[in-house]
């Protein structure tokens, strides 16, 4: 071994209910290197780092620091061991100043006016690493990138020798990202080690020395960046083999199910999230929408389902103009929505399975007469769907929250498909589900396609998109990078489009 490893994680395994997030993952970090941790969403990057930072305890495996095994029970332990973390969502008191935030919980500060002493050190460190920020400024007056600097300073002042950055560029503009990279290089020169969580290939190539790729909770490989390229990394990240083989019969698509023309929309934070998106979905066709999380998929789905306003552009559903119509009107027009947030939005956890099955239709006959609900009709309907969709529930009166993830999704599909929709908007329909539930949901989507529904399948699972879609659209930065027929699509091409390159 040419360079002694500073930190090693050996065979780390961690399982959550229903999913193995890390399966015997090994990672070695050397002093003075920027080590990128690359993988798709759900690959297990954040879990691995949460274990290193003491937020979770591994089920198996060990952590070695300078060759000595350590147990990290809490973030406090991690800090004592010289491990610092800059979280994706900053943990700062908005009304306090930079110095006050840094002094908060910092050992060795005087009990009175603790921030005063810190101010000088903040300025010192800021100069050394190029992290200029006014220690007297209140947090709310700072830009996001400045807040990130505060988080980095916080970690450095606590003596972090290893700094973990969780998708640090996701909140930055390209220029701000370049500044951050300069800071990271400076830190490297000072002998710090940096672990950089990302799913962006350009960033890996730009700043990392070595890169470790995770896929579906497992280690793929660790390679020096100088000896690899984006194409190779893409292949490692998305995998080579198609794991699911589906029976997909060729089908000639019919009329138009959905047409989106030059749609613009903003995110919750008011930033442009969709910039002139146009595409169509025909009946009897599945259009897969691939892309890295946070590139406008959520906003796209919400615009189409009546949950978000379009600023510009037109949405036509089954040949009717549905631009900026309400969720109820969109549903009534024949659109099924399988939401991304299954438990938070897709069901009412405290209400019964039967009530959840009529969540969309409780206000129409035969489920009500005037104001009165017809409980018998509802219960008969529920029993029929439970049998038809094989929802495992003790009774229709069981609260929906006691169902497993797969059965909750079956419930949602049963409800959404029962009206015979002409258009299906499915957002991440199988994320976090086990193999059998995933297969069943794939089969149900294909069956609807057979029967002539148009399907928009939004997913981060490239295998799923490739296996199910007739055509694949790739979204990046709120724009469609390209739409290719699935038969002509290859993983590398799609992967590159997902990182913002047009074919």
């Amino acid at each position: 071994m040419p360079v002694e490893a500073f930190l090693s994680l050996r065979n780390i395994t961690k399982a959550f209910p229903g999913v193995v997030a890390n399966d015997r993952v090994t990672l070695e970090v050397r002093p003075g290197e920027v080590h990128a941790l690359l993988g798709e969403n759900g690959a297990g990057k954040t879990t691995l780092m949460s274990i290193l930072y003491g937020i979770y305890q591994p089920d198996a495996g060990e952590i070695l620091l300078r060759g000595r095994p350590v147990r990290i029970r809490s973030p406090r332990d991690a800090i004592v061991h010289g491990i610092g973390m800059v979280p994706q969502h900053f943990l700062l008191v908005r009304r306090h100043t930079v110095a006050e935030n840094i002094a908060l919980g910092l050992a060795g500060t005087p009990p009175l006016f603790p921030a005063r002493q810190v101010q000088r050190r903040v300025e010192e460190l800021g100069e050394r690493y190029g992290l200029a920020v006014d220690p007297r400024a209140p947090i709310w007056s700072l830009s996001v990138s400045e807040q990130q600097r505060v988080e980095i300073l916080k970690a450095l002042l606590r003596g972090a020798e290893i700094l973990i950055l969780d998708e640090p560029t996701s909140v930055l503009t390209p220029q701000e990202a370049l500044n951050l990279f300069a800071v990271l290089r400076r830190m490297k020169q000072e002998g710090h080690a940096v672990i950089f969580i990302t799913h962006k290939l350009d960033e890996v190539m730009a700043v990392a020395d070595r890169v470790t790729v995770l896929r579906k909770g497992r280690l793929v490989d660790t390679v020096p960046v100088a000896r690899t390229d984006k194409r190779a990394l893409t292949r490692m990240m998305v995998g080579r083999d198609v794991e699911v083989r589906l029976q997909k019969t060729p089908r000639v698509p019919e009329g138009e199910a959905l047409s989106v023309e030059d749609v613009w929309a903003r995110s919750d934070r008011g930033l442009p999230a969709l910039r002139g998106v146009s595409f169509t979905v025909r009946r009897g066709e599945i259009l897969g929408m691939a892309g890295v999380a946070g590139n406008g998929q959520r906003e796209q789905v919400e615009v189409l389902t009546g949950l978000r306003r379009t600023e510009r552009g037109r949405v036509r559903v089954l040949n009717r103009d549905m631009t900026n119509h309400s969720a109820r009107q969109v549903f009534e027009a024949g659109v099924a929505h399988i939401p991304e947030e299954r438990v938070r939005m897709g069901i009412v956890p405290a209400m019964t399975v039967a009530e959840n099955l009529v969540l969309r239709r409780y206000r129409y006959p035969p489920f009500c007469r005037g104001q009165l609900l017809d409980l018998e009709e509802i219960s008969a309907f529920a029993r029929r769907l439970i049998a038809e969709y094989e929802i495992a529930t003790p009774t229709p009166r069981t609260p929906a929250r006691s169902l497993s993830g797969g059965n909750i999704q079956r419930l949602i599909l049963a409800r959404e498909f029962s009206g015979g929709p002409g258009l299906i908007i499915a957002a991440h329909p199988t994320s976090g589900l086990d193999v059998s539930a995933t297969e069943q949901i794939h089969a149900l989507l294909l069956q609807r396609r057979e029967e002539g529904a148009g399907v928009l399948l939004v997913s981060e699972d490239l295998d799923e998109v490739l296996a199910l879609s007739d055509r694949i659209a790739v979204i990046f930065g709120g724009e469609i990078m390209g739409i290719v027929p699935a038969a002509e699509a290859n993983r590398e091409g799609i992967g590159l489009m997902m990182t913002g390159q047009r074919p």
């Binding site: 759900g42 089920d59 949950l307 969720a327 438990v343 009412v348 206000r363 006691s402 169902l403």
Partner: protein, 384 residues
Amino acid sequence: MMRVGPFEIERRPDPPLTWILGVSLLAILAAMAMSGVIFWSYGVDPLRAYGVIIRGTLFNAKALPEVVRFAIPMLLAGVGLVLAFRALFWNIGAEGQILAGATAATWVALFSPVPDALKLPMMFIAGFVGGALWGFIPALLKLRLAVNDVISTLMMNYIALYLVSWLVHGPWKGPEMRGFAFTNEFPPAAQIPLIAGTRIHWITLVLGIALALGVAFVLARTRLGFEIRVQGESSDAARYAGIDPMRTTLLVMLFAGGAAGLAGVGEVGGIHHRLLDPNQISLGFGYAAIIVAWLARGSPVAAILTSLFLGFIFTSGDVMKVALQMPARVTDVFNGLILFWLIGSERLLFYRVRWAPGRAVREPLPVGGAGADPGPPGISGGDQ
């Protein structure tokens, strides 16, 4: 699941009914134990005090109807609060809504040209409308301007309080009252009949029970009730299903305010027969109704029982004053302690602590219920 030393803490979203009852009872006992300390520091043996209280209320033919008399306003206000809390509107303003109802009823009784035969029905209607308006304002403020409902409803209480105070000291002060800050006495046609020998104004009582049953029916069997439940349990799911939060919240608050307004009608029409100092019209019934609703845990029918329990506490305040020479306000202390313990025990309801020493081999984690439990923060984030 979380591990603290040798214990495993597990969340259970659907605690069994016996567990809910047991924990609630334990909370009340804890409150009684703490009040015992207050009795003791007051120089009264707590055991003797509780003995005197129980004998003086439950085993006393004169005092027993008083339990019902106090339960009436808290039942009406409490049923309204059950509904508001189900829709996640934190109405702390039942006190003000009671006063608004009392004021509206007084206007009908004393100053309106309504014929005698219609006086009582019109008083109830006016009282409902008055309370409903008082509840409507904060609802509108929340929906239109995102004003915090707890604060606005609480502040509306003080507006109502000073409004009533001004009325009885000023424009409505009764010339027959020889300088007291009362309005004139209501004419006989505007007095709610009592059950003989008691202070139970039975019309209001029947209204309270009818509303409790009615709300239970609406929640379980109607479209509106379905919408209220969806809205209260998951606002995201309500958005998804296209339920209009404006409509449900406004309707809920009109009803909750109106029900509290009816309680005010009962107090001025059945007990006092005049509008008087706001602190005498309502002895904090609007606040006690919060406990009624909390103890009832979302069930309007259970509010009938819990309002009787609070009625017992209010009656015991009278006993403490007379038999133990303690200030009647001790009931407020007791009520506060009950609410404190109830809310404090809330966490206990939904978690189970298990003794499981050693880092034994974990069973394979079941998939069941995983989706329902958000788990510790961070797990639910996409990247696992």
